[in-house]
């Protein structure tokens, strides 16, 4: 019985993540268009796209690795989702009953993109490979401040689990973004890179690389990628909320919190032109790193 | 068969006088007789040595006069060990050079074998004699045969090398005579045991001065630092087997004379700073000089000098462990260096200018020679499980027991230098492409040379894998060297201790 509940809950979580992620994507497209003084697609455009892709017949593939790439990506997104507590008190969204280990999560999160990168590599399109190299380079860039923020939290509250940090916030009633502000700043700055909106959209870089890694994929491949991308952005947002904003007690609060935090990269991105790769890396090793160090010092001293 | 130590000297001399006569009848005898003599000496020395180990030191008097009056020969665990080693190495060298100058003049070959035999005999004489003036005579015998052997090849710069050797040798002989004069004038005797017994009656200022002149006198043969300018030249210019005779036999005799003088004659106990300092300087200077050599034999010569420096350091510690280590080093060096010279001279033979840079790829063309060279190099730099390692280890443990950490560090650093220059050669021999322009078409070593090298190589491996095979011998020898009272007692109390 427990097992059944768990599995049903897991499926529900996935659907939730898919829906929320897709919708957020659509809303972002709309907002961006409005800021750019365009009309923009409707907020549900992403669902339409997905449906269309799902319906299409995939005519060609370039080999097994390309087929496995999207699967890897999906695995990564879903499994990460399984390990992130969606709500404070679990309930249907308890998923794998995992109280969450941050380092494990960090590594799990790279698993998908790397698999995807392999898939993209086999297509033989040079743009894909260039996109991948950029993505990996940028990842090295933002990972540093991001990990520093996490380590600061771990040091400060002497726990390495997400649930542990959430408990801390529940007990004290203060969000971690206030009790360890530098870590929050570093994490948010790292998040800019993580969401790959402009100015950090060097991976896809629509005009240069023809969307980079995904450029050779269509139909079911692109559908899988798209849905996993949506789920993944939901996971990341939820993680931020869990870590810095005290988690959420119910779905509404979750949506509000995630959406508000989602706006940071989106709004920053709308008004920024694209960086080059080394500029992006240097950006992350500038102020974010500084705040990361501050965060660790803060954590170590207090 | 048990003979007498005096035969170790008398037989080679007899043979040396005989060879010119016999050569008239059958020329091949000139090559065979030295081999027979050296082989006989090896057997004789070994059997005597076994006898000595079982029953005790043999003191052989000459012309029927007891120790302080007549000259006497002392065949003790130490001297017997060295004498056996020398005769053995001498025999191996003969074996190696049996076909030496096969196709050239009979006269030259005759002289070569006479000199070689007398070189060995003289060295044995230096070791087993119990009389300082007699030692001087033997040093001169060794010296003159060495000069002649160095200048053996007429086409090269060998005369230059021999001349330098000669200048140094004569100066040192003069110093040695001054030392003998000082000792005789003060103690009225030339017998080592008697000198040792009375040395403390000698006024200190004369004692020290005599010691200094002794050091200079013997130092040239022992190749200590400022007195070894001749050595690289002589090793380079002398024929290959002669280089190995220098390294394997002559130097050992010189070192023996030096330590016998320090330990017994002047009865110094405890650490001898002078030996340690001289040894260290010799070691460092020689090994560093070896690094940038272009000629193989010259490199080997410097390496040989360096090893002797290390031997002196080990002796200088003055402890049983130190002496043991030093003797072990001498033994290993006497086995390994000839192997290097043997194989090295074939390598040199096959390069036009005798430079290391011309030996590229010879390992493929002459696999055995190159393998022996590599084995020798491995052993001499002290890589386990070859012979050289155990002696190096003994030296280091002995030094550590005395707390000489700086010396350990320097010795090890120098060993690294040693590794560098040996391995450069090995690399070149094995892993470079053969170059026709710089090498001549290889002359393959003859069978007798290969056998000689193989014997040495087997010894290296045996000692390397089972060092205890020699440790007992070395233990006895080192005890013997350190036990001056016994030496005095043995020599002075024994009239005849000879068994037929």
């Amino acid at each position: 019985m427990d097992l059944l509940t768990n599995i049903l809950g897991a499926i529900a979580t996935i659907i939730l993540a898919f829906v929320v992620g897709m919708s957020y994507g659509g809303i972002v497209r709309k907002i961006t268009a409005r800021v750019h003084n365009r009309l923009g697609p409707p907020w549900y455009q992403n669902f339409i796209d997905a449906y269309k892709l799902f319906g299409k017949t995939t005519a060609i593939h370039h080999g097994w690795m390309q087929i496995m790439g999207p699967a890897f990506l999906m695995v990564s997104s879903v499994v990460t989702l399984m390990f992130v507590p969606v709500l404070n008190n679990g309930g249907w969204f308890t998923n794998l009953n995992f109280k969450g280990d941050l380092i494990f999560l960090l590594y799990l999160m790279v698993f998908g993109p790397l698999g995807m990168a392999l898939g993209a590599g086999q297509t033989g399109n040079p743009n894909s490979a260039i996109g991948v190299t950029r993505g990996l380079s940028q990842m090295v860039g933002f990972e540093i401040p991001w990990v520093m923020a996490l380590v600061a939290l771990m040091i400060q509250f002497n726990t390495t689990t997400i649930t542990g940090l959430m408990d801390v916030q529940q007990m004290s009633g203060t969000w971690l973004m206030f009790s360890s502000p530098f870590a929050f700043i570093a994490a948010v700055l790292a998040m800019l890179g993580m969401f790959r909106y402009s100015p950090f959209d060097i991976v896809g870089a629509p005009t240069e690389l023809a969307s980079g890694p995904v450029s050779e994929n269509g139909g079911k491949f692109l559908f899988t990628m798209m849905s996993s991308g949506s789920i993944f952005s939901f996971v990341k947002l939820t993680l931020y909320v869990d870590l810095f904003m005290g988690g959420a007690d119910n779905l509404i609060i979750l949506l509000i919190k995630t959406f508000s935090i989602y706006m940071i990269p989106v709004l920053y991105g709308i008004v920024s032109p694209r960086y080059r790769t080394e500029q992006a890396i240097r950006f992350f090793w500038g102020w974010p790193l500084f705040f990361g160090i501050l965060a660790i010092l803060y954590a170590a001293i207090f | 068969m048990v003979g007498s130590p005096v035969l170790l000297i008398a037989i080679p001399l007899l043979a040396a006088f005989l060879i010119p006569l016999l050569g008239i009848f059958w020329k091949e005898l000139v090559r065979i007789i030295p081999g027979l003599v050296l082989g006989y000496l090896t057997i004789l020395s070994a059997s005597l040595y076994i006898d000595v180990l079982n029953t005790g030191t043999i003191v052989e008097t000459i012309a029927g006069w007891r120790a302080p009056w007549g000259i006497n020969l002392v065949f003790s665990p130490l001297t017997g060990f060295l004498a056996t080693l020398m005769t053995f190495i001498g025999f191996i060298i003969w074996l190696y050079s049996y076909r030496f100058k096969r196709n050239v003049e009979f006269e030259a070959a005759k002289k070569y074998f006479i000199f070689l035999m007398l070189l060995v005999a003289g060295s044995i004489g230096i070791v087993i004699t119990g009389d300082i003036f007699n030692q001087f005579v033997f040093i001169e015998i060794v010296g003159i045969s060495a000069y002649a052997l160095t200048a053996f090849y007429t086409g090269r710069n060998s005369a230059e090398a021999a001349f330098k050797y000669l200048i140094m040798g004569s100066l040192s002989a003069s110093a040695l005579l001054i030392a003998i004069i000082l000792i005789y004038s003060q103690l009225g005797t030339l017998n080592m045991a008697e000198i040792a017994a009375n040395i403390h009656n000698m006024p200190p200022q004369y004692r020290v001065t005599a010691m200094i002149f002794f050091i200079i006198g013997i130092g040239v043969e022992a190749e200590i630092f400022p007195l070894n300018g001749w050595a690289p030249d002589a090793y380079t210019e002398a024929p290959g087997p002669v280089g190995s005779a220098f390294a394997g036999i002559v130097v050992k005799a010189g070192i023996y004379a030096m330590v016998r003088m320090m330990f017994t004659l002047f009865d110094i106990s405890g650490p001898m700073q002078i030996l340690i300092i001289i040894g260290m300087i010799t070691l460092v200077v020689a090994e560093t000089s070896a690094l940038r050599q272009v000629q193989l034999k010259r490199m080997l010569a410097y390496s040989s000098i360096g090893q002797m420096g290390l031997v002196l350091v080990a002796f200088g510690m003055g402890t049983k462990a130190g002496v043991f280590a030093a003797l072990f080093l001498m033994l290993n060096h006497a086995i390994i260096k000839p192997l290097l010279f043997f194989s090295g001279s074939y390598l040199v033979f096959n390069s036009k200018e005798k430079n290391i840079s011309e030996m590229s790829g010879l390992g493929k063309l002459m696999p055995f020679t190159a393998a022996f060279f590599a084995l020798g190099s491995f052993a001499i730099v002290g890589l386990p499980p070859f012979a050289g390692f155990w002696s190096k280890l003994s030296v280091l443990t002995a030094a550590a027991n005395d707390g000489l950490l700086l010396i350990i560090a320097i010795v090890l650093l120098v060993s690294i230098v040693e590794i560098v220059y040996y391995f450069r050669v090995i690399n070149r021999i094995y892993f470079f492409k053969f170059d026709k322009a710089t090498s001549v078409v290889p002359h393959k070593p003859r069978v007798n040379a290969l056998i000689a090298m193989a014997i040495l190589a087997i010894l290296i491996l045996v000692i390397g894998f089972y060092p205890d095979s020699v440790s007992e011998i070395l233990n006895r020898a080192s005890e013997d060297l350190l036990n001056t009272p016994d030496y005095i007692k043995n020599v002075l109390s024994t009239g005849q201790s000879l068994t037929y």
């Binding site: - | 007498s4 005096v6 000297i9 008398a10 001399l13 007899l14 040396a16 006088f17 005989l18 010119p20 006569l21 008239i24 052989e60 000459i62 012309a63 029927g64 006069w65 302080p68 009056w69 007549g70 000259i71 003049e105 006269e107 030259a108 002289k111 070569y112 006479i114 000199f115 007398l118 004489g125 009389d131 003036f133 007699n134 005579v137 033997f138 001169e140 015998i141 003159i144 045969s145 000069y147 002649a148 200048a151 007429t154 005369a159 021999a162 004038s185 003060q186 103690l187 009225g188 005797t189 030339l190 009375n198 009656n201 000698m202 006024p203 200022q205 004369y206 001065t209 005849q496 000879l498």
Partner: protein, 231 residues
């Protein structure tokens, strides 16, 4: 510059030699009861040899002499080896200046006398000052005289070397006979006779005669080799 340094060095060296040997204590502290008293005593009582030096050289320290003879032998061989040439032209001399007739006639006259003197000196080595080395050298000077007086004077190298070898061999053999008879090398095994007789001293005069032959031939050989060296 270099000379100044050398002179300074030598001055220092000389100073150290001087304080050693010119010190009055050097004489005073000497041990006067060394081996020499025994030598002086035994020479008369046991060896019946008048010349103590000879007794020491040939008997007490006969082993040294054997070595010494070897050194000479080596030097002669070494000369041959060092100056060895593929084809040795005997007769072509490096010194070709003709000697005046006075010299050559005088040489002819003196030569037998010199040889005789030399023989006398080494035969009486155990009785009077002199001995094998001295006698041999004298004989060699006779040959030297002949060599420089007569351009065509030649000695068979083979004969020289046979004599030389035989003398050396006999020396060692006598030593070995002593070894076999008496138990030690070079031990006297012959009757010693009475002091100051020609036939006294056991093997001493025999050895000294052999040494005389050896030295004479070797020195002659040396001179001969060097004279025949063409630069």
């Amino acid at each position: 510059m270099k000379k100044t340094i050398v002179i300074l060095l030598l001055a220092a060296f000389g100073y150290f030699l001087a304080i050693t040997f010119l010190d009055p204590d050097f004489e005073k502290d000497r041990n006067r009861n060394g081996v020499k008293n025994v030598y002086l005593e035994k020479t008369v009582s046991e060896l019946k040899t008048a010349n103590t030096v000879t007794a020491i050289v040939v008997n007490f320290r006969g082993f040294d002499t054997l070595g010494e003879v070897t050194v000479l032998f080596l030097a002669a061989s070494a000369l041959g080896s060092i100056l060895f040439k593929k084809r040795h032209h005997v007769g072509e001399r490096s010194i070709t200046l003709p000697a005046s007739s006075i010299v050559s006639t005088g040489a002819k006259l003196l030569f037998p006398a010199i040889i005789l003197l030399g023989v006398y000196v080494f035969v009486h080595g155990h009785l009077t000052p002199g001995g094998g080395f001295q006698g041999g050298t004298i004989i060699a000077t006779g040959f030297l005289l002949m060599l420089i007086s007569y351009r065509n004077f030649s000695i068979s190298h083979n004969i020289l070397s046979v004599i030389e070898s035989l003398a050396g061999i006999l020396f060692v053999v006598i030593g070995l006979m002593g070894f076999i008879n008496g138990g030690t090398f070079l031990q006297n095994f012959m009757p010693t006779g009475t002091l100051n007789n020609l036939f006294s001293g056991g093997i001493i005069p025999i050895i000294y005669i052999l040494v005389g032959f050896k030295v004479a031939t070797e020195l002659t050989g040396l001179i001969y080799t060097i004279l025949h060296e063409k630069g």
